[in-house]
Subunit: 396 residues, 4 copies
Amino acid sequence: MSLQNPVFIPGPTNIPESLRKACDMPTIDHRSPLFGEILNPARDGVRKILKSADADIFIFPSTGTGGWETALTNTLSPGDTVLAARNGMFSHRWIDMCQRHGLKVEIVETAWGEGLPAERYADILKRDKSHSIKAVLATHNETATGVRSDIAAVRRALDDAGHPAILFVDGVSSIASMDFRFDEWGVDVAVAGSQKGFMLPAGLAIVGFSEKAMAATKTATLPRTFFDVHDMALSYEKSAYPYTPAVGLLNGLNQACGMLLAEGLDSVFARHHRIAEGVRAAIAAWGLKLCAATPDVYSDTVSAIRTPEGFNATDIVTHAAQTYGVAFGVGLGEVAGEVFRIGHLGSLTDVMTLSGIATAEMCMADLGLDIELGSGVAAAQDYYRAHPPVTRKAAA
Amino acid sequence: MSLQNPVFIPGPTNIPESLRKACDMPTIDHRSPLFGEILNPARDGVRKILKSADADIFIFPSTGTGGWETALTNTLSPGDTVLAARNGMFSHRWIDMCQRHGLKVEIVETAWGEGLPAERYADILKRDKSHSIKAVLATHNETATGVRSDIAAVRRALDDAGHPAILFVDGVSSIASMDFRFDEWGVDVAVAGSQKGFMLPAGLAIVGFSEKAMAATKTATLPRTFFDVHDMALSYEKSAYPYTPAVGLLNGLNQACGMLLAEGLDSVFARHHRIAEGVRAAIAAWGLKLCAATPDVYSDTVSAIRTPEGFNATDIVTHAAQTYGVAFGVGLGEVAGEVFRIGHLGSLTDVMTLSGIATAEMCMADLGLDIELGSGVAAAQDYYRAHPPVTRKAAA
Amino acid sequence: MSLQNPVFIPGPTNIPESLRKACDMPTIDHRSPLFGEILNPARDGVRKILKSADADIFIFPSTGTGGWETALTNTLSPGDTVLAARNGMFSHRWIDMCQRHGLKVEIVETAWGEGLPAERYADILKRDKSHSIKAVLATHNETATGVRSDIAAVRRALDDAGHPAILFVDGVSSIASMDFRFDEWGVDVAVAGSQKGFMLPAGLAIVGFSEKAMAATKTATLPRTFFDVHDMALSYEKSAYPYTPAVGLLNGLNQACGMLLAEGLDSVFARHHRIAEGVRAAIAAWGLKLCAATPDVYSDTVSAIRTPEGFNATDIVTHAAQTYGVAFGVGLGEVAGEVFRIGHLGSLTDVMTLSGIATAEMCMADLGLDIELGSGVAAAQDYYRAHPPVTRKAAA
Amino acid sequence: MSLQNPVFIPGPTNIPESLRKACDMPTIDHRSPLFGEILNPARDGVRKILKSADADIFIFPSTGTGGWETALTNTLSPGDTVLAARNGMFSHRWIDMCQRHGLKVEIVETAWGEGLPAERYADILKRDKSHSIKAVLATHNETATGVRSDIAAVRRALDDAGHPAILFVDGVSSIASMDFRFDEWGVDVAVAGSQKGFMLPAGLAIVGFSEKAMAATKTATLPRTFFDVHDMALSYEKSAYPYTPAVGLLNGLNQACGMLLAEGLDSVFARHHRIAEGVRAAIAAWGLKLCAATPDVYSDTVSAIRTPEGFNATDIVTHAAQTYGVAFGVGLGEVAGEVFRIGHLGSLTDVMTLSGIATAEMCMADLGLDIELGSGVAAAQDYYRAHPPVTRKAAA
């Protein structure tokens, strides 16, 4: 494995030089005012990236999984019912977590490759006259299948049913890379992590709570201490933490938000879309198909690529690592062996992306697939040449 | 606040140059074999530092507080009783966590400044014929009071009573700095964090489970997912994680263990004792007293220093930060305002320590205490000159 | 300009992560023994990389140009004659330096693209019965033209003529990347820099002197102080410097030598050859020609690529920088505008190289050259697939 | 030797965190516009720190010694006469360099510990009716003796004599730490290095040329290429270098200038004076004397401290390194064994300085000198408490 080549896993992503340096801090006293100068603007920056005016932002020394647990344990009580679709590995795991925490999950089985079934959500919510469903889980971007769902439609399903359930959105692999609208979509709890669109090492669960979600914390009885948002909120009033914070990562988060907001969120999203379109052009040139069923659900952060029947897609990932020192993602769960994944989020240029596409080509050819060398590269080159970036980022 | 002066808080500690660099890693694929080359020796290293032959070591992207939650939720069930002494802020918080998770806590109130009351534990355990107590909590080193307790005595209390309760030990501010004997003391769950004796940034909960503790996980019904040790154990079999690991910190942990073991644990402990004795010599020269009641409980990682009646000890900490750019620790809880704390653990030389002592002197004099400038420094100099280090560490 | 993409200039090269960290040192006392632990193995490492048993190695805080000046001023006197061929910009500059230092230069004009004219050297040396020629200059690898010359042939020319002139070799862009044999070729002064094969930032002139060259220093009267090798040698006896050394770069050099020697010099050279062959396959696929006249002089560290008549090759370089954030090298001197250069030395993988080739393709197509997108990439992919690396380097 | 303790050598100095990071750059193309964004403001910043409106600033990948050679070789011709005082090791070495370059040096022997003898310069210059003296050498701060001289007086000596000689000033250990007035003092060539007041690693010679010095370059015939200011000036017009620049160090220099100018030069000088006064208070408390003869020549960057007759002062330095891992400076040349030196320049807080003073005390006591432990620390504490810094620097 080489440390020189870019990684093409769907997170953790390639870390920009400036963020490497921001995270690599000497020890400071996390009870000194200097810490507040890091924490407070980092929370403000996250709020802006969520497109929220006043969500409560909590940042735990944890990961996205811890963010999910934060959402559940702070707003729900044992025996509560939640509504969730299973359309990929990450939605599956979230459902599993709910069950392990004693929640009942109304599961809407959905084909892996399809988006969240907002219409079926709508039906179920309308039928739930007693409002026994306390929360709706929505995975904005299924990292396992490269599928982006329509959160606005989920919100409409709730609104059309006049249903008061809380809306949880897993935005781990979408936030800071694809458009996310906390306020407009009526999200109640949004969950992100440091290691995807924020371009940092793993180690932070980043969570936004709406006023409604905060209200729910008062009656929720699932046990929690480490992930308790009230303890966190009380400490934040003093620019502090209830335990030792991950200062360097928070410093990185502050700087990452600054970079993203300076670039402009629209530019960030357009940049991701452009890189993704080049990858998709290559996939088409190879004659392969995405796991994502239809263009409206194509993810701009990760592409899961179906390989021909009888071929073990995981071999591509193993071969790329062993032979070329390049990391791609394997298929997970139901699509294990059927797909391999190219992550194309975070700090990634067109030039870097071409090297990933070229590597995938070599691997597929090495393993006997009928792929013309250079074909995917040429298709992506065509796309990138024809679609110059809106704004060239400053050196970072 | 200066980034140049050493910190004298009881963690996070000053990070050695080599560990700064070990943590500052480019992104690697945490599902590649390279990750196993980091994870596996890191777990082995921790086990050796715990002085255990075969404890199961789990490392979460979290903090010591998350380590406590790991201990409780994996081994206990709602309504279970635990025995705990409250002799400082951190034992207090652990008790609070137990209660919030639905456990009954038999609390042994103990003066802040005293060690764990092993004899009272013994009495209670002997009386608990029905073995309703499922776990005993023991804070090895109370960071709030600078008190180190006798864990072997707690084990004897259990053994003398023939009591099967699990023994939890909070070693967050002792492990890797003071002698800790997982196997010999019959510890069932030990909890540490990356940011103290391991000399790393905060961000890792480091936990050891005995075979008995692992057995208890099978019946424990407290809900857990993020902190589930079984999920972790299953992933470890594949040198992987159930979610995204904090790779850089793990790399740092691996290297930190290597440094500590190369130095030799006895040397590490002797080094901490030497530094601490110099600080204590200074305190005596100032005519001040430790919060720790008797020499047998003096901590080698942190000293809580009582200031004269009527003086707000917290002013020293504020003044040191504002006027000299140096971080000390404030008094917490019952001893807030009565003590200030000098952390003297981790990567700290005699020379650095003298600068902390000199700063404390200036602050106390500035604030009107009757302290002779240079007096504490001279006492510490005397001690350090008379007690050269056993082994001079290699440059790091 | 992006800091994310690899650079494809013929030095400074992409710096491996571990060397970045080795160079980034806190201040140490350069008069302490710790400095000797850096300096001495660094000098030994360089000697091994030069393939010399006992050359005197000198390392100045300077650059390759300073290394040239070191060679001249320590061994020659005003009015001395040197023999030199001009076959590129760097041999031209070295000749210019000689003239500015009052030396007479017998210049053998040679086509840019050809190697050193050993036969013409032989003729001249044979005719120089009086041995008025005191030194022969030989540029091992002309960075401007991508031409590697045959130093063994130059040595034979000297030997066949029985001529005692000192042999200077500029190995700035060859040493540590292509085979170099100080002892076998009878080199008297070899000059290298930190920023090419040694994969470090610029800032070190690295020079090897033979016993014969050291003897010549005793009579040489060109003025010198900063570059005086005797001052340096005297200081080296005490593991010190006559002035303040560039400690971090020396630490990096020590580690770089360790990396290269651990990989094995034959593997290092084979690695460079493999990467270069892929680039050359791409160039052939594009239907373009190298500046280097014949395959026997093809450089494995840099390719200078001729573009069609009437096309300004420099536009490719400008366009690559502005549009794709990628750095190539422009043509210099006689071949300015006629060639552009792809540097392929140092720490560069096949995957990174493919991104450079893909970028060059896009640039040439953007600028109207008749280049088929993907064609060069495919040719290089073919080559790299068919020629797996002898040894896969460990992560660094 | 510890990497944790601050260094107390008179350069290289302790490098601030932010400058460590500024120097640690990935490779960029030094022929791209990005390089100009580093080079040009760095040159402007140096000019401001020299207090010059339009000096030509040249920055070589070299050291202060290379800066001296730049001064001589660009402005003088073989056989030229220069006037110089020898009052310490660095003035001695500069004289030696002149002689080795074929210059005649009129040496004014001066006691080591005294400043430059401006009156004797005046006499000599007045007697030199034929203006055979082409340059006057002036060491602003003799690092060997801790003596700062009066450059304005040297200028007056020249002016009073109506003498046209060029004025060279070695400001290596004064510039950016003590007041320096290029324009006001009529300096013609000023020489500095990166590793002192600029707080960077060694590796840059920083030189300022007046218009008069630039004019002198046209007739100067000493050979030069690497250090040729015309080559450099021509390249600077294109924001480039005549060879490969040390980009990371230049980036650090740019940022260092920014830090110093943001702090304000008067604040920088006052900060150095304050730290130095504390050290001098400690020395007085020890009952020791400075090498510097009178307070008007006390250096604010380094103190050379005389130890009692019969005691080898170098033992303190060796002992400090071996026993406490702290670096002081030895006595050089005429005062070898008679003095040891504490460097107190660059990025150094009062708190760090106290640790150096405490270490010196321990060493002297260990070696049998009659020094009261804590006495020097107390005196410095008194001074620092009574003289708070004008402005507390921001965290860096």
